[in-house]
Symmetry: C2
Subunit: 195 residues, 2 copies
Amino acid sequence: MDEKKNPWTVISKETRYENAWIRVDHHEVRNPSGGPGVYGVVHFKNHALGVVPIDEKGYTILVGQYRFPTDAYSWEIPEGGGLVGKPLLESVQRELLEECGVTAGQWLQILGMDLSNSVTNERGTAFLAWDLSEGIAQPEETEQLRVLRVPFWEAVARVERGEIRDLMSVAALLRVALMACQGQLPETIGRVLKR
Amino acid sequence: MDEKKNPWTVISKETRYENAWIRVDHHEVRNPSGGPGVYGVVHFKNHALGVVPIDEKGYTILVGQYRFPTDAYSWEIPEGGGLVGKPLLESVQRELLEECGVTAGQWLQILGMDLSNSVTNERGTAFLAWDLSEGIAQPEETEQLRVLRVPFWEAVARVERGEIRDLMSVAALLRVALMACQGQLPETIGRVLKR
C-alpha cells in the first residue's frame, strides 16, 4: 500500500460554517472501499502550542480556566494558538509571557501532534522550557486565568489521578516525565527533576 | 474563584452544521470579562476510545490508515468511537476485535482526556490491555486498515521520533512507558516490558 496516496475521493465540498478560529467543510466522498459517504472536516486556522516550563527548583506552571466547549474548569500547561505561517517558537514564547509573566532562555521541542484526526486537521507542537526569568503577565481580555506553580512531579500526579484532562497537557507532561525517568533530559533540568 | 461556576454567558445558540458524528453550534456570548463575542463549539456524538494491547512477548499493535481530515497516513493505537451512554469497555473491546482480531483478558483504564477543549467537547478514554487471544478481524466497510505488531518500546520510539502524531496514541503510549519506567505496571506485563 502506498502511504502517500489518499484513498478517499472527494465528489463535492462546501463550507458550512466559519468563524475566526475554525471552518467546517462538508464533503461528499467515496470512502477507501469505494462506497458513498459524507465527511465533515473541522479546519483549524491556528496551530496549537503548549509549553512545560521548569524552574530551578523543579517547579512547573499550570494555568486554570473555565473551558466553554467542555463546560468544565481545566488545569493545563500554558497553551495558545500560533497563527499558521508564523514561527511556532515566537508564538509560544509570547503565550508564556502573556499568560504567566515568564520568559525562558532554553527551549526544546518535545512533541508534534494531530489533536483529533478523525474530524479535525488541528496540529499542535509542545515544548519544554527552562532557564526561566520573571516578566510581566499580560492576559488577553477574554481570558480569566489562574496561574499556579507546582512541583513538576505533582503535575504528573495530577495527570495520573485524572485531574488534568487536557490532552496536549497530558501528553507533554508525560513526555517530560518519561525523559526524566530515562535520563534523557538536558543535564541542567535532569538534575532538578531527579526523584 | 469558584471552579464550578461557568463565567461565560450564552446570549443565543444556533446549530449551524450536523452529521452522524458531530454538531456545530454557534453561540453569541459574553466572555468571562463581560465583553461580547462568538463561540463555535464542535459537539462530538461519540466518545473516543483507544487501547494499548501488550502480548506475552512485549509487542503492541499499531493500526495504519489514511486520515481524511489531516490528509496524511497515520499509525495509531487501535481506536474507535463508543456511543455516548454505552459502556466504554464494551465498545473498546469490540474495536480491538474488529480492527485487530484480538481479545484481551485483562483491561486497565489509564487515561481520561479532553482532546481539543478550546473548540470541541470531545472526550476520550484510553486503556491498557493484556492476556491477549487471537480472534477474527472484522474491519468496517469504510475502513482500509493495516495492522502491525511491533515491540512496545519501538512504538514509543516512533512517538519520540515524531512518527506517531495521533495525540491519543501519543499520550497512551507515553503513559504505559512511564508506568513501566516507574515500576507501576501489573506484574505480568511489567516483566515483559522491562528494558
